[in-house]
Symmetry: C2
Subunit: 470 residues, 2 copies
């Protein structure tokens, strides 16, 4: 029942057995919806306050049903790990279910489930988050439990060793047995020469195998504390109710160490295109993808992130994109094709394009088609009509996404944990409206740069010796 959430540009690893909520949500990540909705009078009136111990609290009322989504986001992810202990953030996420003085090992999720709720947790490069969706009356209970494990985690050596086997098996089944995942790891490693986004969230196998109780406790003591966390409560609650409960349950949790601002080693200037070719007998079909080093919303010069969103929507995202209409529909060069941009991520976003060549079509033909597509945009730009269509589609997505309580909670949680302010979130759609066709042309020039790219090719390998060339 493990699940990878690919929606944030980088993999998020879920731990618990209850992932239904997450997997049925729209995974589009733009942290925007709330505000559009708000302006239309459809959206939540978001409230923010801070407890004395430093815990940030965000309340997103949604009174359509008597349920609440309760999330705690820690401002720490895999990209904050010390060198050599890759996977420790994700490992600790698993270990957070090992119990405290009050809650026996493995009981956390069972208690939630017994009350008809669902819970889960995930780790990304930038954040680690825990959440529960429960009936309104159970909010005090989940707050008490979540606040409890914020500082009272009990880690027994034997539980750590057992759980380490679990994450190793998770890596085996999810990565080692999946040529696509293996290739993704290699592409990230080749894309990021210096930044830790090049290291997989789940960790490198040889380092995971050595993770210890001490490593987990070091990480826990340093990063798990109210002053490094954000509490999001969305649902059938008022800010006053949440304030009282938060004071009661989270208020007594002691501050942790004052942490320096998160600064990861950033990328050097890109100078040469890279290519990674994975040949694997388990690969079903030949596939092609290209990833570009791209800024996140947080690191992009003003306007670039918004323009990239719309550029990729016009150019490659979905079946209405130029790319799909040309490669799949008109020229029949590919059986599927797409791409996109995500502004999520503290330090870099995600900018990519992919295609599965049709039978008999070579990788070179696909590359030529992609080059032509982007060359055309760089040279001739795109039309107002295309831009408006993309923008409208985007806004429609916002409004649709706004219906999801936990989607909103996740958007606020993720954005705030990675350095956006509430104002950033609220002003995003307006900034999107300021993007013009010239901006799209400009960012196409600037970011769709082969020098900043890694091309990944997955090649099926003949399974029989007799099939091989040698």
């Amino acid at each position: 029942m493990k699940h990878v959430w690919k929606g944030l540009g980088r993999a998020l690893y879920f731990v618990s057995a209850l992932i239904l909520i997450m997997s049925t949500l729209s995974l589009k990540t733009s942290p925007v919806l709330a505000e559009t909705a708000q302006k239309n009078g459809q959206g939540p009136e978001v409230t923010y306050f801070k407890l004395e111990n430093g815990l940030d609290v965000v309340v997103i009322p949604d009174h359509r049903a008597p349920v609440v989504t309760h999330m705690v986001w820690y401002r720490v992810g895999a990209a904050d790990e010390a060198p050599g202990v890759s996977g420790i953030a994700h490992f600790l996420e698993h270990l957070m279910f090992k119990g405290t003085e009050k809650i026996a090992p493995g009981q956390f999720s069972k208690i939630i489930a017994r009350h008809g709720g669902e819970d889960n947790a995930f780790t990304s490069q930038d954040v680690t988050a825990y959440f529960q969706r429960v009936a309104k009356e159970n909010l005090p209970m989940v707050m008490e439990m979540e606040a409890d494990r914020m500082s009272n985690l009990k880690l027994l050596e034997k539980d750590v060793l057992t759980e380490r086997d679990v994450i190793l098996e998770e890596r085996r089944s999810r990565i080692e047995n999946s040529p696509n995942s293996l290739l993704s790891e290699q592409i990230s490693a080749a894309l990021y020469l210096s930044h830790p986004y090049g290291i997989p969230v789940i960790g490198w196998m040889h380092e995971m195998a050595k993770l210890s109780r001490k490593d987990a406790l070091n990480h826990y003591k340093k990063y798990y504390a109210p002053n490094n966390a954000i509490l999001i409560v969305a649902g059938d609650v008022t800010p006053d109710e949440v304030k009282k409960l938060a004071d009661k349950f989270y208020g007594p949790v002691k501050r942790g160490p004052d942490l320096e601002e998160r600064e990861r080693p950033m990328e050097p200037n890109p100078v040469a295109p890279r290519k990674v070719v994975l040949e694997d007998a388990r690969a079903g079909k030949l596939s092609w993808q290209r990833h570009y080093l791209a800024p996140s919303y947080k690191t992009a010069p003003k306007g670039d992130s918004e323009a990239l969103e719309l550029l990729m929507k016009v150019a490659v995202e979905g079946t209405t994109s130029r790319f799909y209409k040309k490669l799949v529909v008109a020229d029949k060069l590919a059986s599927s094709a797409g791409g996109g941009y995500s502004p999520s991520g503290m330090d870099y976003g995600s900018l990519y394009v992919y295609a599965v060549p049709a039978k008999g079509v070579t990788v070179e033909q696909i590359e030529k088609a992609v080059d032509e597509l982007f060359d055309d945009i760089r040279t001739n730009g795109i039309s107002e009509l295309e831009l408006n269509r993309a923008r409208n589609a985007y806004i429609a997505d916002y409004i649709y996404g706004n219906d999801s309580q936990s989607g909103l909670a996740r958007r606020y949680g993720f954005s705030l944990s990675t350095g956006w302010t509430i104002k950033d979130i609220e002003s995003y759609p307006d900034r999107l409206k300021e993007v013009g066709v010239d901006d799209l042309k400009r960012v196409a020039e600037k970011y769709l740069d082969l020098k900043a790219s890694v091309t990944g090719i997955l090649k099926p390998k003949p399974k029989l010796v007799a099939e091989t060339k040698k």
Copy 2:
């Protein structure tokens, strides 16, 4: 007057103006010579002792002339740098010439020169070393000066800023203006997904630009101390003389912090070949190279490192190699071709092959020739005759290299600083004798693995707009 020493598999950056000794030395790195020589009665009787403050001292007598080579090796290199401060090891090496209470800024080398001596310093991924070659009677003086700056370095903010401009300019002239160097950096970055050998010794420009006095002092205080250093004195001295002088000058230097054993993040299992293509108008000719992830002597299973030395000697190293004779002489596919293996390096060695295609020859033709060459060795192995010839040539190199006083000093210094024992150094030639033709075949299978490789291509780019394709 800057100089890059490529002999250790990874670039070493020299700082001072006096590099004549180094640049005229054989740069072959196998840390072996002393012993062979010793067995023939030609070599030095190497003596080792340790001072009370932890300083290791090695004395290599050489009474042919009244000169001495004095080196201090710190067991710290670029691969030990904290994330985000790439280049700090090399920067500090520069700053070590900024003076102490006794020696005014910039005077260190001048004093040595005034006494007819030469001095220099360099930084590699694994070590930072300082050395002087002086007339025998000046040994006490250089010892006093070197011991002085081991703990009394004076760093003024203005000197740090001035010197930072120097290293930035060094990077500009040596790397940014050299397509070959740029490509080398990209290849290393693509070869090492996790290990810091993927980060250039000189540092990434954007990180170098932020290096501070504080960064330098942190590095200095942590790593520069007698218990993290090795003193090598080679030349017209006896162990007793050196002991007395070392006690007098280095004895009073206080121990530094106890350091943990150096452990860097090691590489995950390689799964896919990578390719980096650098197109550059400044590139003179098309060139091709391939690097493989390879163990160092220190990390290789017993015998593998020795077998790789001889394998590469037979296969690709120099004009008597199979590769050269086939590609350059017989088939005229390349105007130059070569390769090699170096067992140096704490964590990984260096294993590579390169060729400059002849006019009209494509990269694909070169790759095919390389694949065939290695396939042949993997399938058919090599002959006893070839192995013996390679081994004899190797041993001849030892004996020749043994004539160089500073070569020997460097060999002992580098090897001991990267975890070899004196016994490792002394027994190396004997272990080489144990390598058989089957070992060469075996290591060819094991290490010449495309999955563990990065291919780098440097492509000249047309300089005139009219020459370009678009």
